[in-house]
Symmetry: C2
Subunit: 336 residues, 2 copies
DNA sequence: CGCGTTTACGTCGTTCGTAACGATA
DNA sequence: TATCGTTACGAACGACGTAAACGCG
């Protein structure tokens, strides 16, 4: 059994049991991969894949088990290499982050800029997608960090570091009736207008829908979008009242839109940054977490690095004391 | 990085950082091992060992981390091989068991005989030692099963399957005063005589000492031995009253010794069988557990095989319902 | 000078890539 | 016939073992 054989095995699995594709991904010849698979199967004395004629059909039960173990082995091998780079004190490497639009567009730019200044030699890859797509990317193993809000259940194999909380903001065109209320805005007020907001389906966002339902209100959602920019566009067109994450209501918008804080109307959401369990966090990764979750102390960072389970991390933070991030200049404020 | 390099690395560590010894253990040449270590260190770009002149001195901090990861990798590689043998339906393999004298001498013979009948092709290795020595053997990675009593703290990296409980028996020469009591024997009765028993120090055995202390008694222990055979010898010589595990009071002894059950006088001890976490249990290993811990149902065996943590196992058994093992013919009885 | 490690070098087995072949839809 | 996997073979590489050199106590 060789590490390379296991690597090829995983490559085959991760490329839809296509040896040719796996070989290309590994930058090697197809017969080489084919042969190594055969050698591995011979050494173990069992078939890892079912064959359809000559093509690989599916994975045998034994194959599944072997593949799982092989993944552990490759992960630890990667960890050894990470450790090595770390002790070698290199500030080089790469960092792949999968995240949602709101984070990528409104939160990460500052952080990334700071990070690049600090670690110019670390290659950054940002991937934007829905929670589900992020989960897929995580499963496909190419991602160092996932950043998302709620939907913890999609990411049970990640360690989640709670980073900040945020409220919604209501955006309306300048001079809209809602800006002229002499009292605090209510859900009932909102429900009178056509709404433009995020797609309800994905992740914890449906908490918004639930907030209305709880008061027996049935809001008229005229448009759902995947990102705040689209929402703003339609609000500007007068299509309806927009509800977005407060972070998305930035200073520029306030020139032609009215931004009304909606604290209290909807439950607060918590955004976390997650990384795969049992992976060695390199110094620059820890630094990224620090930049993203700015409330974390040096001691807590250290504890995170040592954490073996999600509980170890949860113990470090009081959810009710996480900072709340707003929009525009009031970027991050302490917990209320 | 090659699996073999990691294997050599661990061999070096496990042989007192002696490359020559490691090479012998690996049945290969010493320069080969030396070279592979060097190649590994070069590839990782860091020293794994500190050097004293030419000899290896200690392990660097980086080295420790790499070694830990390497152990995981080798363990999983072994697991893959185990899986392979298992699916191949071989009833061959080997089983190394480390245990204490009492188990090896009085409990295991029957079980081993049965096991050998069932799996004649599985090579059995039995190693006898104190709890501490067993812990060392476990740490040295050469052991599949450890069987011992109490002292769970020494074996925190094992999964412990509680197997049975047992009481002490008091053994005295035929006609001894203690046999003529017309009431149940008490600790105070015992404390009047010189005692011969196990070494107090090791493992949970000191519970015996504590039992006396709790009643303010200071027994006169004239002899402590590591095994029951020695104790019986001295009891026969009239040196004192023996206290042994009930299993050790077998039928033969009753010819020239009086055996008095000491249930209730001392706390019951629980003997467990333990195996390393995250290891694949082969069919014959599961069968051995079943033979040793005869109270386990097929369903529970299956659950054990799937258990990922000690808690998963603890959940399966009620400590108060474990069978109690006696000596002589009354080998195992149901829980009271 | 003995012990243990590293260096040097020749041998042998393994891996890899190219090219040809086989099978399947 | 296009796609995908296996077989065949030669070249390059890497691991291993023997022999010898080196460094330390």
């Amino acid at each position: 059994m060789k590490l390379q054989q296991l690597k090829y095995l995983l490559a085959i699995v991760d490329n839809g049991m296509n040896i040719t594709a796996a070989a290309e991904r590994m930058y090697t010849s197809q017969p080489g991969v084919s042969k190594q698979l055969k050698l591995l199967e011979e050494e173990l004395g069992l078939q890892l894949f079912t064959r359809k004629g000559k093509s690989l059909g599916g994975i045998t039960p034994a194959g599944h088990q072997v593949i799982d173990r092989a993944r552990i082995i490759m992960r630890e091998a990667d960890n050894i290499r990470s450790l090595a780079s770390e002790f070698y004190q290199e500030e080089e490497g790469s960092l792949s982050i999968a995240t949602t639009h709101t984070q990528a567009r409104y939160v990460l730019p500052d952080i990334v800029a700071e990070f690049r200044k600090r670690f110019p030699k670390v290659g950054l890859n940002l991937h934007q997608g829905t929670s589900e797509q992020i989960a897929d990317m995580v499963a496909a193993n190419n991602i160092d960090f996932a950043i998302a809000t709620g939907s913890n259940d999609l990411f049970s194999d990640l360690m989640l570091v709670p980073s900040y909380r945020w409220d919604r903001s209501i955006i309306v065109p300048k001079g809209h009736e809602l800006t002229k209320l002499d009292r605090k805005i209510t859900l009932a007020d909102l429900a009178k207008y056509p709404l433009v907001t995020y797609v309800f389906s994905f992740g914890g966002q449906s908490s918004l829908k639930r907030a209305f339902e709880k008061e027996g209100l049935d809001p008229d959602v005229v448009f759902t979008a995947r990102d705040a920019d689209v929402i703003k566009t339609y609000v500007r067109m007068g299509l309806g009242v927009g509800i977005v994450a407060s972070m998305a209501a930035d200073c520029d918008d306030r020139k032609d839109l009215e931004v009304i804080a909606a604290e209290g109307l909807f439950p607060r959401s918590t955004t976390w940054i997650g990384y795969r369990k049992n992976t060695v966090l390199r110094a620059y990764m820890v630094e990224f977490i620090r930049l993203f979750a700015s409330h974390i102390s040096a001691q807590q960072l250290d504890d995170i690095r040592r954490a073996a389970s999600q509980e170890d991390i949860d113990r470090l933070f009081d959810p009710a004391r996480l900072p709340v991030r707003g929009g525009c200049s009031d970027s991050v404020t302490e917990a209320a």
